[in-house]
Amino acid sequence: MNLTFSPEEQAFRDEVRHFLVTALPQDISERVRLGRHLRADDHLRWQNILSEKGWLAANWPKEHGGPGWGPVQRHIFDEECAAAHAPTIVPFGVNMVAPVIMKFGSVEQQQYYLPRILRNQDWWCQGYSEPGAGSDLAGLNTRAVREGGHYIVNGQKTWTTLGQHANMLFCLVRTDPHAKKQAGISFLLIDMQSPGITVRPIITLDGAHEVNEVFLDNVQVPVENRVGEEGQGWTYAKYLLTHERTGIAGLGHAKQALRHLKSLASRIEHRGKPLLEQSSFRHRVLKAELELMALEVTNLRVIAAARDGGVPGAESSLLKIRGSELRQEISELTRRALGPAALPFFPAFLHGDDGLDEASAQNAAASAQYFNRRKLSIYGGANEIQKSIVAKTILGM
């Protein structure tokens, strides 16, 4: 066994690093570094640069316009992007709906949507959760009734991330109310400009507008916008949730956040000594350091298994649980490190262009980010759901 990257992989890392230095616009990386909210245009500018380079669709096969990377290269790419404060790629099109369209969509859907995703011509959002269907996603109630060449869709979706910018929605709907709950679900692609769609913001506890409610009131959706077969939507949704989840630990983000924390705690002093030298604080940083070391090797084990042809399944749940807990702990320590300076809240700075002086801007987002990171153990299947998945699929309980 060895844990070192090959010379080719090292060279690839250098190539990515060099690209990021030259291509990532500094105003964007600065917004990411300071924890400010990104504007739609920030995302688009960066994703267009990646698209131009051919690196946007990191997990697509070559024949569809992906770079043809394996899991190891994707991992290196993610890590370097996080280290360089690049914006996270908005995943709903390129990483979520695209693999479903590739695997289950019609040739027409593939030919139409995939190139558009690759060129950032559509902004996709996800219509999964509903007010009454969170962890129990298959309990969703949004109805789609077939009328001629259309489905008439009625219902409400929620926690729709960045839906305020989206022009396309992939959506789980109930087409057969009499079938067993997983069996009556279909997967529709819905134009957000359709009459009857209303998007309402939900402001999260950190003051951010990240998620939305989407209301669907007699929305007409052409039947050809259904992916795959009617009643098979649950299968497609599950495929999407397990597809290429080797990056789910957020390792690059955790590494970057811990580096930042250590540097912060070395600079901030208490009674003439850096915070990092105070035993109780240092102890928690050390525990985070150890957890990160373990998580990194676990992540590499899953990546190596994927590279060698294995399908990461429930192992993703392990990565998700420990990765989210670690990132939450680091965000907690970062907030604590600031002491009383963690108290002021500057929403205008976080989502606007208003300036702050350099010193207070550096840390303005720490507390907001702490609150924001609470989502990590909730979204994508709450950690308790992940534990139940592990209990069922790995432990056979």
């Binding site: 250590k262 050390l286 350091e289 150890l290 373990a294 590499l300 139940s388 432990l395």
Partner: protein, 371 residues
């Protein structure tokens, strides 16, 4: 980056798994614990399988196994809690000999060790120094062309079965020396006992023990000592992984079998999630054990940093898994006869071998790269 085993390593693992299954059932293990170490059939089998040569370099007559080979062996031994002093009686003293001894000393002590003709012990620990191998107070002075040793070594594993014990002692110049103390030599006395997890051990008292010059292996052993302790800690992590696996497997099997309220315990979500937490601790610790096993050849500060991190991490996980295993077995988990009990005891005590979590966290802290 590669986590796959080579064909030879897979064969080694299969052989050991079969050996443990066939020859170290809980009942066989109990019988073995009653017989004197070093004389048992199992050690001869180890010898025939090449296990005694495996972890030593070819220069000293070994098979040149690496950290992964050692990990495979230790993990298998941990699964069966095999009551042979593979680490304490062979690997640790043998590696010290390999690093410090002259050809003549190696011919006298190391060659028969690898052939299975005798076992040794390594006495580095003193209560007053806790887990620190360097700040000990046993002393060695030169007198009339001989060495004279005074001091007391505590919790020396495999002391009774050892033909000789490697003893660390402070020299006049402040450096740490290493000496071969043959069993029963004048001035030594032993107090033998079992550790709480049933390993044979003892204290070794040295009162004006006079040794010929050739019994000094090194007059400055600290570098070799650090290397061997690092190897030992990595090996212990692997052994603990084997024991954690069994503790998790057996607890899971019990949850599926035991019924209360008319249902198997495995159907209760509170217990499922606790079981998953054990599994998470196991898998994260396995990663740390792999990290330790693959760090042996790194520059010493990087090696010590990673291995200390692994030992600190595995120590806490082992205790967590042990405590959960007791809890999930309910009152049965409190009994001496419960099959999980030897594993629980080992996993708790593992933290005390070669430095506990607090000790190793201090090491990590001292080597932490701040920025």
């Amino acid at each position: 980056m590669d986590f796959a085993l080579t064909d030879e390593q897979r064969m080694l693992e299969e052989t050991l798994t079969r050996l443990v299954t066939d020859q170290v059932s809980p009942e066989q293990r109990r019988l073995m614990l009653g017989a004197p170490a070093g004389t048992r059939a199992l050690w001869r089998t180890f010898s025939e399988l090449g296990l005694l040569h495996m972890p030593f370099s070819e220069e000293v007559g070994g098979l040149g196994g690496d950290g992964t080979d050692l990990m495979i062996i230790m993990q298998s031994l941990g699964r069966g809690l095999v009551p042979e002093a593979y680490l304490a009686g062979l690997v640790l003293p043998g590696q010290l000999l390999a690093l410090t001894a002259s050809d003549k000393q190696q011919a006298r002590w190391l060659a028969p060790l690898l052939e299975g003709d005798h076992q040794l012990a390594f006495a580095w620990q003193e209560y007053s120094a806790r887990y620190d191998a360097l700040t000990i107070s046993s002393q060695a002075i030169q007198r009339d062309g001989q060495w004279q040793l005074n001091g007391r070594k505590e919790v020396v594993l495999n002391l009774e079965a050892a033909a000789a014990t490697l003893v660390t002692a402070r020299l006049d110049n402040g450096k740490l020396g290493l000496f071969m103390v043959p069993a029963g030599v004048s001035g030594t006395s032993t107090r033998l006992y079992r550790t709480i997890d049933d390993r044979p051990a003892g204290d070794l008292t040295l009162e004006h023990v006079t040794l010929p010059f050739e019994n000094c292996l090194s007059e400055d052993v600290s570098t070799a000592l650090a290397e061997v302790l690092a190897l030992g800690r990595a090996a212990l992590c692997a052994e603990a992984i084997g024991a954690m696996e069994v503790a998790c497997d057996q607890t899971l099997a019990y949850l599926k079998e035991r019924k209360q309220f008319g249902l198997p315990l495995s159907t209760f979500q509170a217990l499922q999630h606790r079981m998953v937490d054990m599994h998470l601790h196991l898998e994260q610790s396995r990663s740390m054990a792999i990290l330790a096993a693959t760090s042996l050849d790194l520059p010493s500060s990087e090696r010590d940093y990673k291995i200390a991190a692994a030992k600190a991490y595995c120590g806490e996980s082992a205790r967590f898994i042990a405590e959960q295993a007791i809890q999930l077995h309910g009152a049965m988990g409190m009994t001496e006869e419960c099959y999980i009990t030897p594993y629980v005891k080992y996993l708790v005590m593992f933290d005390h071998y070669l430095g506990d979590s607090d000790y190793h966290l201090e090491t990590v802290s001292s080597l932490l790269n701040a920025a």
